[in-house]
């Protein structure tokens, strides 16, 4: 049957080289015009219900299990919320710095994973390069030295996590009111030995990313670009802070929507919409409403929102990037890669600073105060702002949990990028090639979504694309994997 004259539904299922499981549907009319695009998240998390009835001190360890890539973010965010519950208004320097070290270790490994393992095949070989080359194995074959550094960058971050949380994945380091261990001199010295190399490799990654982007600057600034609001936490003085701060939202052209919002007030500013075709909610800024209130989070939003970065190398890179738009927010999806590398560099700088801080060897680990029934906290996870909200009863049991996960915040932007790219690249095409479909995925990957916050099958998921007519009959099928 011809695919040229009938309306079609294109399904990309699953989207590959992202964390978790999602699919894209694109509905074309008879002339091949894009009628509707959707990015569906078809996995279900039930953790907000799982923790009901459990004790608040269990939350940091239970909830982190919803993700295998960034469990540290959930672990720390839940711990921060339980800090509020146990009345720990200020942590001891050792506790706060150990947690920060854990967090920067995670950001380093997560950003390295995303750039090198998930996205570099597209960036190095082209969006429509042969499938057999367009994967991490292809990168290893083409540039084994860079691939080796990518693996070791990740390893360094993972080892930092192990030294602070007890395990590389799903540790137990952060507890309500503090941390359960410090960093021994021996552990510190192991990391200090390699930190300058890690910094050097982070700079190389930054340069590689910039080189790729600058070679086709106009293309990258336009690819999947659309205006949006930007949301992130910033330090009280406007500095980039991935671990703690107050909430700031800006419009696409840089006007402040709100600023210095405290965690406990988040519901006054953020609301969530449910749509029947996705398990993921659609958050929006209350004052702007559902239609105009959606926003981007993650590295791009953070760099757009902050006034400066307190580490010199990353700050220099931030200034260079922001000079492209005269200091105005950048609204290009592919700028996520650039900003992600700035943050990786920032994390390496922060790790070095912390390793040289004797507070990490302190022994005062836990703070407590007057118990509260409600604890709300946020953190800047690698993929964006993460909200945890718990309420407990008199018996210390959780009676309410609300998690707004980073990728959830980016739900509408990812739908937007699919829409923009479908119109730019698929509209009017009679034949949909694998390379064209990957172009859609490239746009989604820029956001580094963690769809299930649980699973990750690097480049090994099968990709099934079905082209259907109005009656839902499959008229063409493409299977990969």
């Amino acid at each position: 049957m011809s695919t040229k004259t009938t309306g079609r539904k294109i399904v990309i299922n699953p989207v590959t080289r992202v964390e978790g499981h999602g699919k894209v549907t694109i509905l074309l009319d008879e002339k091949g015009n894009v009628q509707q695009t959707r990015f569906h998240i078809i996995e279900f998390r039930g953790f907000e219900r799982f923790v009901q009835g459990r004790f608040y001190w269990e939350a940091p360890t239970i909830v982190q299990r919803l993700c295998g890539i960034c469990p540290v973010s959930h672990h720390l965010c839940a711990a921060k919320a339980t800090d509020v519950i146990v009345g720990a208004k200020t942590l001891t320097p050792t506790a706060e710095k150990m947690r920060r070290l854990m967090h920067y270790g995670q950001t380093l490994q997560s950003h390295a994973l995303h750039f090198f393992h998930l996205c570099s095949p597209d960036l190095l070989f082209g969006f429509d390069a042969p499938v057999e080359q367009r994967n991490v194995i292809g990168v290893i074959k083409a540039d084994p030295e860079t691939a080796k550094k990518a693996v070791l960058l990740r390893k360094y971050g993972q080892e930092i996590i192990k030294a602070t949380a007890g395990k590389k994945v799903h540790g137990t380091g952060a507890i309500p009111g503090g941390i359960n261990k410090n960093l021994s001199i021996e552990e510190r010295d192991v990391f200090l030995k390699d930190i300058d190399t890690i910094l050097e490799w982070s700079i190389e990654a930054m340069e590689l990313c910039k080189k790729i982007v600058k070679e086709k600057l106009e293309f990258f600034l336009k690819f999947g670009a659309f205006d949006s609001n930007h949301l992130s936490i910033v330090r009280k003085d406007g500095c980039l802070d991935l671990y703690d701060g107050l909430l700031r939202a800006k419009t696409a052209d840089g006007k402040i929507i709100f600023d210095m919002v405290k965690p406990e007030d988040y519901l006054d500013y953020i609301a969530e919409e449910v749509r029947p075709w996705s398990y993921m909610k659609f958050p929006f800024i209350r004052s702007l409403g559902k239609e105009k209130g959606w926003y981007r989070v993650g590295p791009l939003a953070r760099i757009n929102n902050c006034d400066f970065i307190d580490t010199p190398l990353a700050e220099k890179e931030r200034q260079e990037l922001m000079s492209l738009t005269g200091g105005k927010p950048i609204n290009a999806s592919m700028a996520y890669h650039w900003t992600r590398m700035i943050e990786m560099l920032h994390s390496a700088e922060k790790i070095k600073d912390l390793l040289n801080d004797p507070d990490l060897q302190g022994t005062n680990l836990i703070t407590q105060g007057t118990k509260q029934k409600r604890g709300v906290a946020w953190i800047e996870a690698p993929r964006g702002t993460l909200f945890h909200h718990y309420e407990i009863n008199d018996n210390d049991q959780i009676v309410l949990a609300n998690l707004i996960v980073s990728t959830t915040n980016n739900n509408e932007p990812m739908n937007q990028v699919v829409n923009v790219l479908a119109k730019d690249y698929l509209q009017g095409k009679s034949e949909i090639t694998e390379g064209l479909l990957n172009t859609i995925e490239v746009g989604i990957r820029a956001y580094d979504p963690c769809l299930s916050c649980a699973t990750h099958a690097l480049g090994q998921m099968p990709l099934q694309v079905q082209i259907m007519n109005h009656e839902g009959k499959v008229v063409n099928e493409l299977i990969r994997g």
Partner: protein
């Protein structure tokens, strides 16, 4: 030969013991580990769990209740007996709701440690997913029946060590459960977090509140050495 000493063998190793000991006591003194769950040195034996089953002259017996005797031949660390023990541990896992990955006593839990020691990594039997109650009413402790293995240690410790009577068993068979001496849960009992009963639970069933995860991974009781190694490393008494 002195009448105060009996001599017998465990897995072919000669063991000498006072005649008033049980097999498990004599084995402990000799640095030989017999797996156990409901037995605890400072409590009278319960004989509930059957994990400490050994063969005496070819007959299976509870080593926690069976007295030593001159010349008996005890089999302990055999594939047959360890297979029985594995089955018991497996049944306890699937009858309860044990989520080791997030449990606050993981790493020091005797049930988990026994599973590792006996090579039980994943239950093959179907999980029952039984509805079990969690009693959180007490201000300082909680009783999570999801993790209860009905070992009865808390029952015996409350009676014999604390001279109280906080815990007991109710119902029979698969419906058996630990009960407390109150109609309104633990809060109306005279249990305190300092009671000896609070330190004997082999799992995460009876736990002091707000103490979870204080010990970092790597320093927990069974992180480095398997359960039983504390007995096996003891100097063998001559």
């Amino acid at each position: 030969m002195s009448t105060n000493v009996v001599t017998f063998t465990i897995d072919g190793v000669e063991v000498k013991s006072a005649p008033d000991k049980t097999i498990i006591q004599a084995a402990d003194d000799a640095g030989i580990y017999i797996p156990r769950l409901c037995y605890l040195k400072d409590l009278p034996p319960g004989g509930h769990c059957r994990v400490c089953t050994v063969k005496v002259n070819g007959r299976p017996v509870n080593s926690c209740t069976y007295p030593v005797a001159e010349g008996i031949v005890v089999e302990n660390d055999t594939e047959e007996l360890n297979s029985f023990r594995r089955n018991i541990i497996e049944m306890l896992f699937v009858e309860g709701n044990h989520f080791c990955p997030s449990c606050e006593v993981a790493g020091k839990c005797e049930l988990q440690a026994l599973a590792y020691r006996l090579g039980l990594l994943t239950p093959q039997m179907p999980y029952l997913y039984a509805q079990k109650e969690l009693d959180a009413t007490h201000p300082d402790v909680y009783l999570d029946r999801n993790r209860c293995v009905l070992c009865g240690r808390c029952v015996r410790a409350s009676i014999h060590l604390d001279k109280k009577n906080v815990f007991g068993f109710e119902n029979r068979g698969i419906n058996m459960r630990i009960s407390v001496n109150s109609n309104d849960g633990l809060k109306d009992t005279d249990l305190t977090k300092d009671d000896k009963a609070m330190s004997v639970c082999p799992t995460g069933c009876l736990v002091v509140k707000r103490q979870g995860y204080l010990t970092p991974v790597g320093k927990r009781l069974y992180d480095k050495k398997p359960i039983g190694s504390e007995i096996e490393t003891k100097t063998v008494k001559s």
